[in-house]
Amino acid sequence: MSARLMQGNEAIAEGALKAGVRFFGGYPITPSTEIAESLAKLLPKFGGTFVQMEDEIASMGVILGASLAGKKVLTASSGPGISLKQELIGYASAAEIPAVIVNVQRVGPSTGQPTAPSQGDVMQARWGTHGDHSIIVLSPWSVREAFDIAVKAVNYAERFRTPVILLTDEIVGHLRENVELPAEVEVYPRRAPKCSRAEGYEPYAPDEDLVPNVANFGEGYRIHVTGLIHDDTGFPSGSPKVTREAIKRMHDKISRAADEIIEVHQEFTDDAEFAVVSFGGTARTAYEAVLNARKRGVKIGFVRLVTIFPFADKIIRELSKNLRGLVVAELNFGQIVNEVERAVAGQCPVKLCAKYDMTIFEPEEIEASIDELIAEVNGNG
């Protein structure tokens, strides 16, 4: 297969399509619009449906309806739009509806700095909607990986019946690279009921992996779907026991598979005394900074979070045992650094390298943070 020059946003559209997405609902917003534009063209070629809705809330509603009717679904937006989508991201969590939400991050809060790059929506991706809920958040650093992660996001949404946030940024979304895309990818099929209505089918009864096999609409199961706390039948329940079990199961279905979901890209960590932790577009600069520092003889490792949530607690904790210090580079005022500090739990110093001036990092800026950390650790900072 020949290489194609494409944008990160286009690669996300291609990946989603390859993973079986046949329905997209969206609303125009820079820097995510190319995903909608690509799918407006591509989806009808595959018998799929693209619909531009009246607002971001409707865009979430329409994909959740389509998902319940059996389609694999996607929507994409950026900060202001993602804020509006939170309501129904919560609905997707509560009613366990597979859906992928792409956030191509730009500078916020509010209209912010359109449409300069940022990574300021990390904690929103985790906690944006109200109430206790679980979520999967993935972040690519290249155009090719944007394709792979789109496939993965769709597969996780289907497997765990959960909203999945594909958290990218303007850097990767608008990056153009030459990529070769695979002809085939592994696709997780829509889960199906294991027994009939007559055999006592309950749509929200958990399977062995704690995920329910909710029937699609129109297949004769006559199920009820609600955002109210419900029992295995799908109908609302006012019982404390049902409430406790429902909320716990929603968390457990993802946390018990965390080791499988969590992906961390590490290089040069075997001999490392220090390391840089980063993700998404910023990791590209961090990588350069690590290479430069190593050329100067600094024993520094590169750690990139591909899965942002569930957070790589164990990996970071184990890593930090053998390190003298960590730099966390992120294009915001400091968000993922708190997660890193929690995981490190004081085993080594953690230094934040934050940037929030609408420009991307230069390798020298991250290198300077590395040098400062080393100086501080060596007691001459």
Binding site: T49, E54, S59, M60, V62
Partner: protein, 276 residues
């Protein structure tokens, strides 16, 4: 024993319903299943009932179809998704005056504009009932609510005019008193291939009638009987007679237009993916 063939459309194990004694919602819910019963194209397995949040929207849980109780105001976007994903399914939306014309107002007009093949039934009780009687965009001027203790000064929507102006292809109004008419009105709405909108006036004795001294439920229904004027008669009525509480019911608007799923099917044909 009276044969109640429509009872099969209800989830008997979910009844009794949570509505207050004297509430009109049950009448409209029954009218919906009676209209469905008369239409052989609508079966329990190919019909999806979608509702928002509020008193009326609880109806979906009692009805034995695939049912979707969504978030406040969002029934129409969810229903649009179901219909566009599976155009062969029939989709009925149950909503209330607050759900449809306040928080869901934007979705309502855009659903009409696209002419999505949905039958939307708005249970208009003139109030937010579930939350205890706050003014809605369809609370009449001067009527009292917990959030309008001196009488509402907000001019109300005429949801039927709104639907017509926004592009719905079937627009009608009926009431919980005019049961036969209500069933026929919903039946015609189900038959329309496109966005059908039916406003069904219902009495809310608990949160609206009591505060406005409208009497018991029977009296509230007698008010519907005495003030509803069939469209044909309403049109002949001189303007100086269209006074007081008088309001028109019946079919207001009907038009032929391609439903959205059919229009999008053309897109799929143009793109070469219609058969996939």
């Amino acid at each position: 024993m009276v044969e109640r063939s429509y009872e099969k459309f209800f989830r008997q194990n979910r009844l009794p319903h949570l509505w207050c004694p004297g509430c009109g919602n049950g009448i409209v819910m029954k009218a919906i299943v009676q209209a469905i019963e008369k239409n052989p194209a609508y079966t329990q397995d190919n019909t999806v009932i979608v509702s928002g949040i509020g008193c009326s929207s609880r109806a979906s849980g009692y009805m034995d179809f695939d049912t979707l109780h969504t978030a406040h105001g969002r029934a129409i976007p969810f229903a649009t998704g179901v219909k566009l994903a599976r155009p062969e399914l029939n989709v009925v939306v149950i909503t209330g005056d607050g759900d449809c014309t306040a928080i869901g107002g934007n979705h309502f007009i855009h659903g009409c504009r696209r002419n999505v093949d949905l039958t939307v039934i708005l249970f208009n009780n003139n109030i937010y009932g579930m939350t205890g009687g706050q003014a809605s965009p369809m609370t009449p001027l001067g009527k009292k609510a917990t959030t309008a203790p001196y009488g509402s000064v907000d001019r109300p929507f005429d949801a039927c005019k709104l639907a017509e102006a926004a592009g719905a292809t079937y627009v009608a109004r009926s009431t919980a008193f005019h049961v036969q008419h209500l069933v026929k009105t919903i039946e015609d709405g189900l038959n329309n291939r496109g966005f059908s909108f039916i406003e069904a006036l219902v009495q809310c004795p608990t949160a609206y009638g009591r505060r406005n001294k409208l009497g018991d439920p029977a009296k509230m229904m007698a008010w519907m009987r005495d003030n509803a004027v069939m469209k044909s008669a309403w049109d002949k009525l001189p303007d100086d007679k269209k006074t007081g509480d008088k309001f028109p019911i019946g079919l207001f608007y009907r038009a032929e237009a391609e439903p959205y799923d059919a229009a999008y099917h053309h897109v799929q044909e143009l793109a070469g993916g219609a058969a996939k």
